[in-house]
């Protein structure tokens, strides 16, 4: 007992020391890196953010397209992600043996597809005619395939050593990543400018099938996948965070190649693209090449922002998914977009209440009461660009229920709303936030992602580093205030996986 008290005292004393010391050394580190970042915007509005890092002869690229599933409307849900898949299919130059001949067949194929759809939509559809057209469709599809050099874009990139060739789509954005040996900068410029200047969405129908398989894999066959889809649909009745990135199956079955082309024209103008490049390159050379290769992409107006806003919630909402599964529970509360001034305080709240082994929730639900095997706070779900959620996810332990977990989560939320957090809690959060940024900065790819994210979503790339100032300024009072502002029962939604009887 005696030793314990001594320990805590020592701990608190050492903390005071640490806090001062850390602010100094880490602040310097962040500032030094920040000063090395260079930015150049092309005449067509495309922005390049470069950080030279000469430790190893490699370079990572991050193309951030400011378009995600939140930009989609009824009938084309899932199109942002489908477009991401199509962006690997090549261009007028890559992926084809004869573009001029190929495009004629692709156009015929699209026209026939429309005819089939029209016939199928009739009240008295002609089954015979549909069958005939479908056979014709398959013949034409195979004819188009004759011009295709299968996966040539991927082949070419991987042959040059692209260790990271990939892309991902979220509710907010579509992001394309590559990592190459650093002497291949110009090759990347050539391939990538061609990719976004003259894309050809060939092999469209088979790729749509692939995306449907992805939906089954990630969402439909997984209880947690089903829960997430229904949960966001319940939380957001108006805002397009309402539908999952993967899209509805019926939309995936009906989206056309023209839909994707229109979507591309609308959202892939150069002013909607931000590129982060981190590694063993010279910024001046990057900018010179960027002008040479990317300035030829004609400028387009920046797309109109999303009109729909989520209205105030009128009462607690609940949604359940029945599955052959043990229970899972998620509770979400509305919070503002990432660029809101309360963001840092919400980060602190999320961390202190539900991130890490010594967080309030883990301490109580997992370690003390043993009602859950896992609990965590998800902040910034399902996206960051628009008002989103601070949410709590709990996985009940065997023979325990979601209800028990929820009651304890509520209790802990109540305590913070009433008593706020301790100075030690805050010190812990601040230090972890900074260490987390530092750890991410070690990777070229992560750094490129951070810079583009900060620039597009937060409004300025500098915030990658400057957000640390905001974090340092957070007080106990701030945390208490945001807890009371946002963690309101009336404004929450509870989602559960319930074991099927």
């Amino acid at each position: 007992m005696h030793r314990k008290r001594g320990f805590y005292l020592k701990l608190i004393l050492s903390l005071a020391f640490i806090a001062v010391f850390t602010c100094f050394s880490l602040a310097q580190t962040f500032e030094a890196v920040k000063n090395q970042v260079k930015v150049h915007t092309l005449k067509n509005g495309m922005k390049f953010i470069v950080l030279e890092r000469h430790d190893a002869p490699v370079v990572s690229f991050h193309v951030y397209a400011d378009v995600g599933s939140a930009n989609e409307s009824y009938g084309i849900t899932g199109i942002s992600h489908l477009l991401e898949h199509m962006a690997f299919k090549g261009s007028k130059i890559v992926g084809t043996t004869d573009y001029e001949a190929e495009i004629k067949v692709l156009n015929e194929l699209d026209a026939l597809y429309d005819e089939i759809k029209k016939e199928k939509a009739k009240v008295k559809a002609d089954a015979e005619k549909i069958k005939e057209m479908e056979e014709q469709f398959e013949t034409l599809r195979l004819k188009a395939k004759e011009y295709v050099v299968t996966d040539e874009f991927v082949d070419m990139m991987s042959k040059e050593g692209d260790r990271q060739l990939n892309a991902y789509t979220s509710f907010d954005a579509t992001q394309y990543i590559d990592s190459l040996p650093s002497n291949k900068l110009e090759f990347w410029m050539s391939m990538t400018s061609d990719r976004f200047l003259n894309p050809v969405f060939r092999e469209f129908f088979k790729e749509r099938d692939v995306v449907m398989e992805e939906r089954r894999l990630g969402l439909e066959t997984r209880p947690i996948g089903r829960l997430v889809e229904d949960f966001v649909a319940t939380v957001f009745k108006a805002h397009p965070y309402h539908h999952h990135v993967i899209g509805h199956m019926s939309d995936l079955r009906n989206i056309t190649r023209q839909d994707v082309e229109e979507y591309f024209r609308k959202y892939y103008g150069p002013s909607n693209l931000t590129v982060g490049i981190v590694g063993d390159v010279k910024a001046e050379e990057v900018f010179r090449m960027a002008e040479l290769y990317f300035e030829r992409i004609p400028s387009e107006p920046k797309p109109e922002p999303i009109r729909t806003k989520e209205p105030e919630q009128w009462g607690e909402r609940r949604v359940t998914v029945e599955a052959i599964s043990q229970p899972i529970i998620i509770v979400g509360y509305h919070r503002p977009a990432a660029r809101h001034e309360d963001d840092a305080a919400l980060e602190a709240l999320a961390n202190i209440i539900g991130q890490g082994r010594s967080s309030r929730l883990y301490q109580v639900l997992v370690k003390e009461k043993k009602v859950a095997i896992h609990v965590e706070c998800l902040n910034g779900f399902p996206g960051n660009k628009f008002p989103n959620l601070i949410a709590f996810l709990a996985v009940p332990a065997q023979n325990h229920t979601s209800k028990e977990c929820l009651e304890l989560i509520d209790e802990e939320i109540g305590k913070i709303k009433e008593e706020s957090v301790t100075p030690e809690d805050l010190t812990k959060f601040k230090r972890n936030a900074e260490k987390d940024i530092l750890d991410q900065m070690k990777s070229n790819a992560r750094m490129a992602a951070l810079l583009t994210y900060a620039d597009v979503v937060l409004g300025e790339w500098m915030l990658t580093f400057d957000q640390v100032q905001e974090i340092r300024a957070i007080t106990e009072e701030d945390v208490k205030r945001v807890a009371n502002t946002y963690l309101i029962k009336k404004h929450r939604t509870i989602g559960e996986v319930v074991p099927e009887k």
Partner: protein
């Protein structure tokens, strides 16, 4: 005459243009790129030290950011768990970290570590246990003190043992919730054998049987400095760091220990068709394969090239790109350091194309053993490996962790360079030779987890079907 002159001037300018290269000319993706020399890789100096107590250390300085990381491998593994106490190793590693020390409770450690934004984690795998530390450099002394306490005087507190057991039982109760998890687990059992330590997993009876004495015993059998290999990298002076380690972990007492040899894997090649019926899914999880091999196999470089071609140029292009049948699809002859890996092919496809996809995959396995790969396929696979080789050196962490791993497994420290030299020499003839030698497409085991009544054809069209029951044996009734 005049014409000639203009031509000459044009030629001259063209020549200039070519000389200055990219300054003016835009290159198309198909144009020839002449890549300049890559800046040399700055190979860090790795210090190799063995402390008096036998702890093997690899250290690399990395002064870019003010952090220090550490990773250690302890020679043990879940393969050494007694067959009636499966999970014992995992629980031991977990409670080593959560159960506190002679000086602090586990909760105090959690708090102290998180307060300084540091982590210490422990983990048990099949053929090793590992520990990781990540800390801001100014806190290294405190982190090392905790690590030393954890390794030298763990408390294995009863309440944290109970917690670990609750977690293990909860995980058992949840193990059939995700079909990917079912497929991975059951396929492993098909390959290594149901009771094999390379595939085994705990049941409720195992959890119930584990006592604190068992945990102490497991810990005392393996956790010694002379049984541990460690990598440290970050913002420190190597000499000073060795001194620090000597003053802390140097006090950890060594012991005479003999880690038993790894259990042997006996494999009998056979063709089997297996089904786990899941009426609540609309997509089948397919796994096909047989036993694989070791990384020390001299054919490993050629197998690497074959894997790249089979997985990407064949399976991916055929099953995904051409047919649109799956999002993820793969096929490769797996190899581990010291026990055989698995020749593993997989895909997930809608129920209605299950058997068709399996037939296509079997076809690709067969084809790679029968036809030589093309020049383009060989060039792509080798180029990909060789051109991305530099990424093995893009962080100090990768370099030092690799050294530790090779040392742990008793592989030559330049193993990767040897593989690279091997890959450079691989020919089409080598690829078909190893494919013929190691792949037996006619003797694979097929597992499907899916909804059988929606399959395009009955699974029995592939052969007699063995239905696997995955019901979880209920916990023993408590004593009345």
């Amino acid at each position: 005459m005049k014409k000639q002159k203009i031509l000459n001037i044009t030629v001259f300018f063209l020549f200039i243009l070519l000389c200055v290269g990219s300054v003016f000319a835009q290159k198309g993706p198909r144009d020839k790129f002449v890549f300049g020399p890559l800046n040399p890789i700055k190979m860090p100096k790795a210090e190799t030290v063995e402390l008096k107590n036998g702890l093997k250390l690899f250290l690399v300085e990395d002064h870019e950011y003010p952090t220090i990381d550490l990773r250690a491998m302890v020679k043990t593994g879940s393969v050494y768990e007694p067959s009636t106490k499966i999970g014992l190793g995992t629980i031991t590693a977990q409670v080593l970290r959560t159960g506190g020390t002679a000086f602090q409770t586990g909760d105090e450690i959690d708090k102290e570590l998180e307060t300084m934004a540091a982590t210490i984690e422990t983990h048990m795998d099949r053929d090793y246990s590992y520990l990781t530390v990540s800390v801001l450099k100014e806190d290294i002394d405190k982190a090392l003190k905790i690590l030393t306490d954890i390794l030298m005087s763990p408390a294995f507190a009863e309440d944290k043992i109970e917690l670990a057991k609750i977690q293990q039982n909860s995980i058992i109760s949840r193990r059939n919730d995700e079909i990917m998890q079912i497929a991975n687990r059951e396929f492993r059992k098909l390959i290594y054998g149901k009771e094999s330590p390379y595939a085994h997993h705990p049941e409720y009876t195992d959890t119930g049987a584990v006592t604190r004495e068992d945990i102490l015993d497991f810990y005392k059998r393996y956790f010694y400095p002379n049984n541990t290999t460690m990598a440290v990298w970050g913002d420190f002076n190597a000499k000073a760091m060795v001194t620090k380690l000597r003053n802390t972990l140097g006090k950890w007492k060594s012991a005479k220990i003999s880690v038993p040899p790894l259990p042997l894997v006996k494999y009998e090649y056979k063709y089997t068709v297996n089904l786990i019926n899941k009426p609540d899914v609309n997509q089948s999880n397919i796994m096909i394969g047989h036993i694989g091999g070791l990384m020390s196999n001299p054919d490993y470089p050629a197998l690497n090239v074959m894997n790249s071609i089979l997985s990407y140029d064949r399976m991916f292009k055929k099953i995904r790109t051409d047919e649109g049948l799956a999002y993820a699809v793969w096929g490769f002859y797996g190899a581990f350091y010291q026990y055989p890996g698995v020749f593993w092919n997989g895909a997930q496809t809608k129920s209605e194309s299950t058997v068709y996809a399996i037939e296509l995959m079997l076809g690709e396995m067969k084809r790679i053993t029968e036809e030589e790969v093309t020049d383009e396929e060989l060039a792509r696979a080798k180029d990909e490996y060789l051109n991305s080789f530099v990424f093995n050196f893009d962080s100090k962490e990768k370099i030092v962790r690799r050294l530790m791993t090779y040392a742990y497994y008793g592989y030559p420290l330049d193993f990767m360079d040897r593989v690279k030299a091997g890959v450079e020499k691989v020919t089409k003839a080598d690829v078909i030779k190893v494919a013929k030698k190691y792949l037996r497409p006619e003797k694979v085991q097929i597992l499907v987890v899916g909804k059988k009544e929606d399959f395009d054809k009955p699974l029995s069209s592939l052969g007699p079907v063995n239905v696997i029951d995955i019901a979880i044996p209920p916990p023993p009734r408590p004593m009345e």
